[in-house]
Amino acid sequence: METLLELAQHYNYVVTIVLMMAGLYIVVARGNMVKKLIGLSIFQTSVYLLYIEPGKIIGGTAPIIDPAFSTYSNPLPHVLILTAIVVGVATLALGLALVVRINEAYGTIEEEEIFERDREE
């Protein structure tokens, strides 16, 4: 019972882990390359959530200094995640460029068809 109570208090983290595992499952278990890249992107965004959630202070506000407020949420994870978001889109763009070239070389983007074609040669 205590475990259930703790899970309810940590509900945010549980859902973040569920998102992360869904992204991992898409990458591992689906053969379509574009869908794999989208699964990777879902995995990355769930990691952003995992970093930002501990930084929130209940009763605090956004970290912009203003004389009317005294408690601010932690700004350090925000900085790291800003960089991570942009790096994520750069990775997605390069991955999609590679998928376009693979499609031109093999005619398909399904993993199993590509392996079959390689095995035939």
């Binding site: 912009i64 800003l82 460029a97």
Partner: protein
Amino acid sequence: MSLDLILRVGTKLILPFILLFALYVQFHGEFGPGGGFQAGVITAGMVVLVAITFGLEAARRIAPQALVDRMVPLGALIYAGTGVVGLLLGENYLDYSVLAHDSAHGHELGIFLVEAGVLITVAGTMTALFYTFVERGR
């Protein structure tokens, strides 16, 4: 009246406001949410909107390929250059305190220049990505 017409007129009306919003986000990044990355992506989004609504030729009139090709490294050069200025004036690399007459103003000027560099690179790269992906299909 075809629906095409509504889209074209609406886009023509809203385009300058998108650019204005991008510049607002860039320059107000120090006082509210915003900064170089968001502004760069909104600027690239404006070029993409023009390309979708009016065709690729109209987008090339606004953002010619030569300009975009030069914007991509220019922003990184501005960023690294700000650091080198700090080095030439006797302090550490990327030290902003020597850029103006006193330390706080120097830091503010350094942040402004650095965010401008980031804006130019991000806007150029996102537009170049869009152009490259679309060119491949022709």
